[in-house]
Symmetry: C2
Subunit: 434 residues, 2 copies
């Protein structure tokens, strides 16, 4: 078996065998297969596709390249949650505490975003003192003790995925559903849960711009996860406008705490309950409606907020961040309002443009390794469907770098579409792949 025949087979549109896929992944990870051959194979996969069996084999090969987290000593059901990424998506900080408060262990290995704002790790690290770099033993211990832990993935897990993703990023080979699915599912499998609930975003602020594309990815993710022995359910949710009002690391933690305190935006609450309910239903006997009632219960009685506080404390942060976030989270030095140039109804908010503005303000990174400003970001004062008078605030910008305000304000103003009439909105929850 040689890599050239594997590349040629995929170029001709043939299915690769399990042996061929493992040979390519192992050789590439070990450095025997050079980047230039792997990138040719990746482009052939982008254009010729991979069927389910090939994608499962690829995922398995990625997992096999590193270590897995062993949660077998943690009693009870373990369920993970994953979002394909959107602007203002802080549902992990709500749904995971709900699930944990209701008795499902959530040991989530998360990443740092290369997107508009940081990833879940960056968001959590805006809580002063909170550590996300934990040893496997510490992750397992905390999972067993309080049922909730969110930590960074160690370099020893799925190294093949890291190397492959870095190559895809610079060779125009990111946009492939089988490659995306293998990357996502390999990381989930390595985290050792019984199952995973996936939140696939669709819309202008998501990687998948259309509902059809998002649905296709969701189906692939669920099938591949099951092919690797994981339970899986996917929600397809709207990302045409940012989720909630807060975009930025500390701002999003504060909003998550608001939701856990019963005061946050409805959309974040609705999607978090939907995700948590799927996690509960996956873990136990309860049907989805009973799970939804149970999720709402532990959210409304404060148990979920208490669980988040326990996790923050366990990871070195001050638990009061989960009760009085305003006093315990960093605040930006410069705040600036973006006002509406006209009166009317907000017809749309381009999520991607808002994300770009947040990154401009310091909330995200341009390159891996860049630091993020935990306090930077945007709070949206108007969401789709709300009315605004000319000169009233559309959003507030937060940054420690004053010079970024002008450009960010331009981006945010352009992101808003103000119309005379209210738009016909689409629901937040677009589909469920069970």
């Amino acid at each position: 078996m040689d890599i050239l025949s594997i590349i040629s087979a995929k170029r001709e549109g043939l299915r690769l065998s399990r042996e061929q896929i493992h040979h390519a992944v192992q050789g590439f990870t070990a450095g025997r297969i050079p980047d230039y051959q792997m990138s040719a194979l990746l482009m052939a996969i982008c254009l010729r596709g991979m069927d389910l069996r090939e994608t499962v084999d690829l995922t398995e090969a990625l997992v096999a390249s590193g270590r897995k987290l062993d949660l077998s000593d943690v009693p009870g059901p373990k369920v993970d949650k994953h979002s394909t990424g959107g602007v203002g998506d802080k549902t992990t900080l709500v749904a995971a505490p709900i699930a944990a408060a209701a008795g499902v262990t959530v040991a989530k290995l998360s990443g740092r975003g290369l997107g508009h704002t940081g990833g879940t790790l960056d968001k959590l690290e805006s809580v002063p003192g909170l550590r996300t770099i934990l040893s496997p033993a510490a992750i397992v211990e905390q999972a067993g003790r309080i049922g909730l832990v969110v930590a960074g993935q160690s370099g020893e897990m799925v190294p093949a995925d890291k190397k492959l993703y870095a190559l895809r990023d610079v060779t125009g080979t990111v946009a492939s559903i089988p490659l995306i699915a293998a990357s996502v599912v390999s990381k989930k499998v390595a985290g050792g849960p019984d199952g995973v609930v996936l939140d696939v975003k669709a819309g202008s602020g998501a990687f998948m711009k259309t509902l059809d594309a998002a649905r296709e990815l969701a189906v692939c993710l669920v099938e591949v996860a099951r092919g690797l022995g994981l339970k899986a359910t996917a929600l397809v949710s709207d990302m045409d406008q940012p989720l909630g009002r807060a975009v930025g690391n500390a701002l999003e933690v504060a909003e998550a705490v608001d939701v856990l305190s019963g005061t946050g935006p409805d959309d974040v609450r609705e999607l978090s309950i939907a995700l948590a309910a799927r996690m509960l239903a996956m873990a136990g006997e309860a049907g989805i409606e009973a799970a939804k009632r149970r999720a709402t219960e532990v959210l409304d009685d404060g148990a979920a907020r208490k669980k988040l506080a326990e996790m923050i404390e366990a990871q070195g942060g001050d638990a009061q961040a989960a009760t009085e976030p305003d006093g315990f989270l960093p605040r930006a030095k410069f705040l600036s309002e973006v006002t509406s140039p006209s009166g009317g109804v907000v017809a749309a908010i381009e999520a991607e443009a808002v994300g770009c503005a947040a990154r401009e303000l310091g909330a995200g990174r341009m390159r891996a390794g860049d630091a993020v400003d935990p306090a930077a970001g945007i709070t949206l004062e108007r969401k789709v469907g709300q009315t605004v008078e000319k000169g009233e605030a559309l959003a507030v910008l937060h940054t420690s770098r004053e010079e970024t305000l002008e450009n960010a304000a331009r981006l945010v103003e352009a992101a808003y579409s103000i119309q005379p009439e209210a738009p016909t909105g689409r629901p937040l929850l677009l589909d469920v792949i069970e």
Copy 2:
């Protein structure tokens, strides 16, 4: 303009602009664009294709990467000849002397084969003393003085093609008609002729296995050459069985001399006359029938053989190699007959298998830079349509490495298909693209 957007555009099936193509080629040649990005782009081109305009732009960018041979001081018409490569194809050594003897200047820049036997340069170098590494000034001088020169391409010509081809070779991206056409035509343009006659091979011993594929390549080659301002005609010729009887470097020179002496195999004579006639017709006023008569005339009256002798002498070889090749060409130490396991009619001779056997015997190279054995090769004692008794010779193997005989014999025996009935053959000349 950045390479990632160029890769993505081609991945999506878009046409690349002239600027995008030049940016990619220049950046790659200068080392600013790494191999792994170029190989992704090459695979996208393999699978998405390139239209004529893109292919012409690519060819132009390859030519622009290096120097061109300036033949403008050489009076009269200058016509080049190119074959896409087959087993036993020694027509350059016949057609070019015919054309030169009839008054057309042929200054051919040739390559070393990575195939089953050497390229034209390797074949010529089997003549003791003959040099193929000539300075541009020496090439122009010889072209002006005797009208015939065959030399190696200098490293300063089309360096982008050399670098690109080396990458294609190891990334499964050779099989692309636009990429093949750009590579071939760029080298022809750099050689500075007025026009080129192409011999596109079709069959088991050729890169293009089917007539349709060969015809498609021939049309593309002609259109791209014309797009670069070159006159162009292509013949499509059969390569289902080896051409002539000799396969191997010195053996093929000897057979070419036989043809120039009126005693060689009919198929080599027929194709060489057809190619030379196209070269004459391209150079002058004469129609193709008059050109064929003229080509036959200078072949039959010995003028073409005399021209080859002049060229051999001009390049440092002994001119007697063109009159008494047996005494002036190296001979192999070990000769061994392959006999027929059954009686019947030769229905087919797998050209590729014969080529592999010749390489095994030392006539070709496995890696660039390997030396070839000038005396090694195969002489076919039976061609398609001829009868053979059980135990009679099918072929004779020539080598200086006795240990290769057994495996080569097995390959050659398996290459022959012996049937009770004569096959319905296909003509040597399959099509002409004018």
